[in-house]
Structure formats: structure tokens, C-alpha cells
């Protein structure tokens, strides 16, 4: 009876995962979709704790189980609530890594369990006591989980700037070599005598961990959302191996579902940047290619003073703000909203032009501006914005670079060639706020800054916006 109820709970949980994921891809239902999936998860967890039995035996160690769940819940909730909006992708990466580590630990525990309960002779090969299918399931969980954990931690470090990009020649060959070492350790462990099994298994985990580190190391910080999405689907597969191991259909459906959806999502993210997944993973974007490929400076840039910038904006009919990562870094969303309100009160029509991949993650700018209560109608998507630039007097670019680079249209040699951009040049004036002339994340020069219509307003986005506000107020 109890086992049947458990099965029913797992079926319900599996359905909520599918429905939840479906709702998450629809803007109007997304939030409820998340809650639906969370409810299904809670059901599956508590059903497992209280109803699961194996060969008539219930689970024990309740104190440990609840202790772990309480510690995890408190830390998880606090971390998720406290994290700043700009640091969200890092947080997701870290949580993903936790899931990967969890899957790897489960494999390790199962391995240890089999080892300790084995009563037969110690000098026969492991392969004679372990069916190959089960062996593959256990080590797949260990390998994929370790790769996902190591990769996610590196991705987290890169996003918050603690870990710098690190690429060298032949790195991809080395990575393939490490991967071969992982497989070799797996085969070797399987052939080893029972008493010698621990060392190759530990080596297996170590090499998998190393592979995760080396796999993410050369990929540029701007591509981390894609990498996190990919590692996310890895963890899904690692979770599914657990489903195989325990013949647990909820783990299986949840894991495979995320593995498949995560892979597709990764590809969709690449498409939004008009790049292929291989290009992201082995292109070392911005590192090696950006060097000598004919990057010439086209004359001098024109600077604009703060008061001039204030004047052109205050007397404009329509101002379009193009936010980018610079805005997020400077935490300037509130200052930006303040400027917008001030200009609106002077009769200026202010809109925001949102490029789909502006910032560090798709939707980054929408989330950021929504935080400072910018009304939804003011945010224009790329297509709408591009229609309006022709009637715009001033475009104010705040820390965006590659998404307004005309090279994406004109220069077939450019790494971002073919990416849709915001046609800011159609406007009468373009004011660019940047911290310096350093190129953006693609590592390429931006022709836009040298065009006659463009003038530069250097400085930290928040400070510049605040100064603009006080300048306009005193006018």
C-alpha cells in the first residue's frame, strides 16, 4: 500500500516537472510553473523519506536526513534571497555545481556500499562480480557529476571575476587527452582485481574533476551563460543515472527532461548570439582571434562634456537608452530610472532599447530595469527599437558595446558578423557612456565610436547618470 502511494507520488512529481517546464517557457505562466515544479519536488522528497522501502526495510537515519535538509534549505534560501540581481547567473551556476557534486557523491556511496558488502574472494576481477550495465551507470554518475561540479565552480569564479580566462595552444588536445584518461581509468578499474579497486576509482573522479576545470577554463566570461546551461543539462543526465541505479522513475524523468531541455536551451542561447555551440566551446572567443586581424583605429574619438550631454538630452523630443553590461556592473539601474523620470517630466519621450543578449545573460537588462520599477511599456525589443531609431534624437548607450557594433553587419571577418544589432546610427546623435576605450567582451574594436554622429562620455555609468540628473535639474 505504502509503496503504491510512493509510486503515485513519483508519477505526480514527474508530471509536475513536465508541466512546470512547459509553463516556464511562457512569460505569463512562468512563475506559477516554477511553483508547480517546486510542489512536485517537495512531494517526491517527503514521499521518499516516509514511504520508501527496500526489501521490506524502511529508511533509517532520520536525524541525519532532516539535519541535512534543514541545513541545505537554510543556506540555500538565504543565498538565493541575498544574492544581488547582477550575481544571479553565478548563483545558478553554483547551485548547479551542488547538484553535480550530489550525483557524484551518490555514485561514490554506492561504490563504497558494494565494496563493503562484498563477501567473496578479493583477487578476482571486478568485472566478474559487477554487471557492465550497472557499472556504466555508477561511473557515468560519478564522471558527469564531477565534471559538472568542477565546471560550474569555475564558471562561477569567472562570472564574479575571481578566475581569469586561461587558454594556451594545444589546450583542446590536452582536454581530449584528459578525457581519454578518464575513460582509461574506468576500463582499468573494471578489469582490476577486487582488492585494488579503490585507487582507479579515485583516479577516475580526479581526472573527471580535472576535465571539468580544463573544459571551462579557456571559455570567455561572456559565454558563461551558455556554458552554465550546458553543465546544467550534464547535471540532469547525472541525476538520471541515479534514477537508473535505484530504478526510480521520478529521478529518471526529471533528470532526462532537464538533460534534453537544457541541451536545446543551450543551442537556443547560442542562436540568439548567432553563433554555434562548437564556436562557443572551442572558439576561445576574444582570446586568440582578436589580435592582428586588421583591427585599425579609425581616427580619433570625439568626447562630449557632461553639460553638453545634459543639454542635448533635455531638449530632445525622443531619447532612446541602450543598456548593457556596464549598467549592471555599475548598479546604475536606479540612477537610470531617475534620469528617465526627470527627462519625461521635461516632456522628453524616453524609451529603452533592449538587445536580447545585452549583459551577461539573456533577459539580464529586463530583470535589472524591472528591479528599479521602469515601466514595462518603456522597454522595446530589438525589432521595435530598430524601427524607432530613425525618429530618435539622442541615443544614450550605457556600457553596451558589441550589441551596437556595426561590424556585425559590415565586416564578414568580424567574429560577431551576422549577429543582429541595434541600429543606433539611424538616430541624430549617439552618446556613448563607457569606462574606457577598452573593447567589449568580443574583444573587437567598435567602429561606432569613431563615427561623426557619435560622442563619448567616459566614466562609471552610475556616477555619470547621477551627474547628468543634477546637471539637468540645475538647468
Amino acid at each position: 500500500m505504502e509503496l503504491n502511494i510512493l509510486t503515485l507520488c513519483y508519477i505526480i512529481a514527474s508530471v509536475t516537472f513536465i508541466v512546470g517546464l512547459k509553463m516556464l517557457s511562457n512569460p505569463a505562466k512562468a512563475r506559477n510553473g516554477n511553483l508547480v515544479a517546486a510542489a512536485g519536488m517537495a512531494l517526491a522528497i517527503f514521499a521518499t523519506i516516509f514511504l520508501y522501502e527496500d526489501g521490506g526495510e524502511k529508511l533509517g537515519n532520520y536525524a541525519w536526513i532532516f539535519g541535512g535538509i534543514i541545513i541545505g534549505s537554510v543556506i540555500g534560501t538565504l543565498a538565493a534571497k541575498k544574492v544581488k540581481m547582477t550575481a544571479m547567473p553565478e548563483m545558478v551556476s553554483l547551485f548547479n555545481g551542488m547538484g553535480g557534486a550530489c550525483a557524484a557523491l551518490i555514485s561514490a556511496a554506492e561504490f563504497n556500499h558494494l565494496y563493503q558488502h562484498y563477501k567473496g574472494p578479493m583477487d578476482i576481477p571486478y568485472s566478474s562480480v559487477m554487471p557492465v550495465g550497472e557499472y556504466i551507470t555508477i561511473i557515468a554518475g560519478a564522471i558527469i557529476g564531477s565534471v559538472s561540479f568542477a565546471g560550474s565552480v569555475i564558471a562561477w569564479g569567472k562570472l564574479n571575476g575571481r578566475i581569469k580566462d586561461f587558454a594556451f595552444k594545444g589546450q583542446h588536445l590536452l582536454n581530449i587527452f584528459i578525457l581519454l584518461l578518464v575513460l582509461a581509468a574506468a576500463v582499468f578499474a573494471y578489469q582490476s582485481q577486487f582488492k585494488n579497486i579503490m585507487l582507479p576509482f579515485l583516479l577516475l573522479g580526479f581526472f573527471a574533476f580535472l576535465y571539468g576545470v580544463m573544459f571551462v577554463m579557456p571559455i570567455g566570461g561572456a559565454d558563461m551563460p551558455v556554458v552554465i546551461s550546458l553543465l546544467n543539462s550534464f547535471t540532469g543526465v547525472a541525476a538520471a543515472t541515479g534514477g537508473f541505479l535505484y530504478n526510480n522513475k521520478a529521478m529518471l524523468t526529471g533528470g532526462i527532461l532537464v538533460g534534453a531541455a537544457g541541451t536545446l536551451l543551450t543551442i537556443l542561447m547560442c542562436k540568439a548570439m548567432n553563433r554555434s555551440l562548437t564556436n562557443v566551446l572551442i572558439g576561445s572567443f576574444g582570446g586568440s582571434k582578436a589580435g592582428p586581424a586588421g583591427q585599425k583605429q579609425q581616427g580619433a574619438v570625439k568626447e562630449i562634456t557632461l553639460s553638453d550631454a545634459a543639454v542635448v538630452m533635455a531638449y530632445a523630443n525622443k531619447v532612446m537608452i541602450v543598456p548593457g553590461y556596464g549598467l549592471a556592473v555599475a548598479q546604475a539601474q536606479h540612477a537610470c530610472h531617475e534620469l528617465e523620470k526627470l527627462l519625461e517630466s521635461k516632456g522628453v519621450n524616453v524609451r529603452y532599447a533592449i538587445h536580447p543578449v545585452a549583459g551577461r545573460m539573456p533577459g539580464h537588462m529586463n530583470v535589472l530595469l524591472a528591479e528599479s520599477d521602469v515601466p514595462y511599456e518603456k522597454l522595446l525589443e530589438m525589432e521595435q527599437a530598430n524601427e524607432e531609431f530613425a525618429t530618435t534624437d539622442v541615443v544614450l548607450i550605457l556600457g553596451a558595446n558589441d550589441v551596437v557594433n556595426p561590424a556585425a553587419k559590415t565586416d564578414p571577418a568580424s567574429p560577431i558578423y551576422g549577429m543582429p544589432i541595434l541600429d543606433v546610427e539611424l538616430a541624430k546623435n549617439v552618446v556613448v557612456n563607457k569606462r574606457s576605450m577598452k573593447p567589449g567582451y568580443a574583444g573587437i574594436e567598435n567602429d561606432l565610436f569613431f563615427r561623426p554622429k557619435t560622442s563619448m562620455l567616459f566614466g562609471d555609468a552610475k556616477k555619470v547618470l547621477q551627474d547628468l540628473v543634477s546637471e539637468i535639474k540645475s538647468m
Binding site: 516556464l24 512562468a30 551518490i106 541525476a239 534514477g243
Partner: protein, 103 residues
Amino acid sequence: MDSLLNWITANQQIIYIVILMIFVGIEVIGHVPSVLHTPLMSGANAIHGVVIIGAIIVMGKAESDNYLALIIGFLAVILGTLNVVGGFVVTDRMLEMFKKKKK
């Protein structure tokens, strides 16, 4: 080779589920708009936290004098819970922002 084939036959139900779930996973998120990419990734991240079930089983089965197994299981439960709880809360926070602006 033979044992692998036997294993496939013995687990054919599971293998069917895997194949079908791959198509379901691809189908359900096929038309996601790009603004939702990040919340969707985060939500999917929380869902694979279902791995916690495995952690609970490992923990619950560990003998109370096997400290290695207890410690591994305990860590796995903590990490799995972090994945689930943190994942859903972060996703909810992201989506809360989306909702607010629609008013």
C-alpha cells in the same frame, strides 16, 4: 557484450522512458522567448535537484556505524537540498521581477 545486451533487455522500460523524455524535454521548451532563457535555465537547474531523492536513499540505507557512508550521504543530502531549494527560490526571484513590470 552479451551481458550488456542482457542488461538492455532487463532495463527496457527505463530505456523507453529515457527516449520519450528526451523528446518531451525538447518539445516543451521549443518556443521559449529569449527573455525567458535565464529563468528557464534556472528552473531546469532546480528540477534536476531531484537527485536529492538518491541522496536521501543513500543516507537512509547507510548503517549507523559506517561513518564514511554516513558522511558521504549527509554531504549529498545537503548539496542536493541546496540545489533544489536555492534553485527554486532564485528562479522565483527572477520571475517576480518579470511579473511586477506587467502591472
